[in-house]
């Protein structure tokens, strides 16, 4: 799925060189990230790559060893946190209180009135269970209540840490639908996940972490559209190989019986290749772009780093 590029470049969260060590393990290493308003920003990485620690630090739960961060261009404070909604790891509520009572406490902490509770419960389809105690909720309902609580008072940013973890397929679908609904309202979303597929489906931007280090960051579309591999075929295979090797961005190629797979150093569009070949007098019988999936890209990035 493609999403519109960031509307404006106002930075909502700036992370400057954050580091956190737990004993021998460097959980986050000198992390630099900027997140623009309106983005659906994915933090992608395998388990233990420092995603939750990073979110913990920007939410003032974890004290960084060094580095700093800014919310909305200001030093972080409890006031900036009131403009953020966050669901971290597990839904955290008072088990003996009803859904509604739990949300009232959240609203009180944020300093908002209680009149927004109906709306958020409606958004996550929990209106009918509003008077049930939290402990009677299924896991999926708990997760949805957490999203509802994060959305109280229309936050400017919604932070979700592994929002589909532990949900059944139906729950996952519901959760994704909710996230996309929220994103459509223009709320900036920061989503940590180890599922590439999830990030691919939901996010506009991504930062890839491994062992606490940033490997890559940028718009997902760009990562996905790294068409650095193009399939071509022509009647004269020898000539084709010669010409394509002369392309300024050419990197390498492999040939099979029918087609030639050409790799380029950077973004190359099929149309450009077609024009280029045509100018050299070659008529292509086959031309196709091979998009590397985020997964391949991710694995490649991880491999390059080892």
């Amino acid at each position: 799925m493609t999403r519109p590029p960031q509307q404006n470049m106002e930075t909502i969260l700036t992370i400057n060189g954050l580091s956190k060590r737990y004993g021998k393990i460097q959980a986050v290493r000198n992390l630099e990230v900027g997140i623009g308003r309106g983005a659906v920003f994915g933090i992608l990485g395998p388990n233990g790559s420092g995603k939750s620690t990073t979110l913990g630090m920007v939410l003032d739960l974890v004290t960084p060893d060094s580095g700093s961060f800014e919310w909305f261009g200001q030093k972080p404070s409890k006031e900036s946190r009131k403009r953020i909604g966050a669901v971290i790891e597990t839904p955290n509520f008072y088990p003996y209180l009803s859904a509604e009572m739990n949300l009232r406490i959240v609203a009180d902490i944020k300093g908002y009135g209680h009149d927004d509770i109906d709306r958020v419960l409606e958004t996550v389809s929990l209106s009918e269970r509003r008077h049930s105690k939290f402990k009677t909720f299924s896991f999926g309902m708990r997760q949805r209540l957490a999203v509802a609580s994060a959305m109280l008072g229309n936050p400017e940013v919604l932070i979700l840490d592994e929002p589909t973890n532990g949900l059944d397929p139906q729950g996952i679908a519901q959760m994704r639908e909710i996230i996309l609904k929220v994103a459509a309202e223009g709320i900036t979303i920061i989503l940590a996940s180890h599922l590439l597929d999830e990030v691919q489906k939901i996010c506009s931007h991504v930062v890839v972490l491994s062992k606490g280090k940033k490997l890559f960051s940028g718009p997902v579309d760009k990562v996905l559209a790294v068409s650095d591999c193009i399939e071509v075929a022509a009647a004269d295979r020898t000539r084709l190989a010669e010409v394509i090797a002369a392309h300024p961005k050419f990197k390498s190629m492999t040939t099979t019986d029918e087609i030639c797979l050409a790799y380029f150093t950077s973004d190359v569009r099929p149309a450009d290749i077609n024009t280029f070949m045509h100018e050299k007098g070659i008529v292509l019988s086959h031309l196709a772009e091979r998009k590397r999936s985020l997964e391949q890209h991710f694995l490649a990035l991880l491999q390059e780093n080892q």
């Binding site: 004290t63 006031e79 003996y96 902490i109 300093g111």
Partner: protein, 276 residues
């Protein structure tokens, strides 16, 4: 302040355990008083059978001594431990349910969180003190004959004294809760210290060679208990020639308040720095 109190009340008022433990406190208090009265009077009856000089029957519920007597029973270790355990539960629950993290995420500062729990402690101490004062007043009125009314309020100082006792023991519980974070462990260690470890230290320090300096009276929990150290049963004590405590001394109040202040400081220092 008002906002924090409103939040805490929402957390507490529908929490069943809260009411059960508070109920147990008053139940054990009532049972303790009745048992003590029964024991004293059966002892007196026993002595009276053997000696010709009659011992007077103990009267616990007359003004002005009732202020001292009821607050004495309301502040013995085994009774005082119930509200303390309740505070430990209320604090460690926030860690177990990870709701402390969520409270911070939602926009509370760590300092505000600590203040909100302190408010709970102050309110609980105030509420229990008011109830005790009410009960004392009612019992006193129904047990005192007319001449006694001139001295109704003479020993009322034991009521603010009791407030300090409740407040400080709950501060100790606050300290255990925030430092240990685990419900079972915090309750176990607090109970172990209050009921077993400190009494052992107390008796070791009270050994004859240490008797002069009275350090043992400055042990944290003991200093709380000592605010109302003995019940007052003047007629009986007069016969036994025992000089009973008759008021609450300022020093006795300042010692546990000092401990509490130090503990609150330590908790603030640690919670400010430690990850949640």
């Amino acid at each position: 302040m008002n906002r924090l109190l409103k939040i805490e009340l929402k957390k507490i008022l529908t929490y069943k355990t809260f009411w059960i433990v508070i109920g147990l406190y008053f139940l054990f208090l009532a049972l303790g008083i009745m048992l003590a009265e029964f024991m004293i009077n059966s002892m007196v009856a026993d002595i009276n059978k053997r000696f010709p000089i009659p011992f007077p029957k103990a009267v616990l519920y007359t003004f002005p001594d009732i202020w001292q007597n009821i607050t004495f029973f309301a502040s013995i270790r085994f009774v005082l431990i119930f509200p303390a355990i309740l505070v430990i539960i209320l604090i460690t629950n926030e860690f177990a349910n990870k709701t402390i993290r969520q409270n911070i995420i939602n926009g509370m500062s760590k300092a505000e969180f600590l203040v909100s729990k302190l408010l709970v402690i102050v309110m609980m101490s105030l509420a229990v003190t008011i109830i005790i004062a009410g009960v004392v007043f009612f019992l006193g009125i129904t047990h005192t004959d007319m001449q006694g009314f001139a001295v109704v309020f003479r020993k009322m100082v034991f009521i603010p004294g009791f407030f300090v006792q409740m407040l400080t023991i709950l501060c100790y519980a606050f300290f255990f809760g925030f430092l240990i974070r685990n419900t079972g462990l915090a309750i176990a260690l607090f109970t172990l210290y209050t009921i077993i470890i400190e009494p052992i230290i107390y008796f070791l320090l009270k050994a004859p060679f240490m008797f002069e300096n009275k350090i043992y009276t400055y042990l944290p929990v003991n200093s709380v208990i000592r605010i109302a150290e003995y019940p007052a049963i003047p007629k009986l004590m007069g016969v036994l020639n025992f000089q009973a405590q008759s008021t609450v001394s300022l020093v006795a109040v300042l010692v546990p308040l000092g401990y509490s202040a130090i503990m609150l400081g330590i908790v603030y220092w640690i919670v400010k720095r430690k990850d949640l």
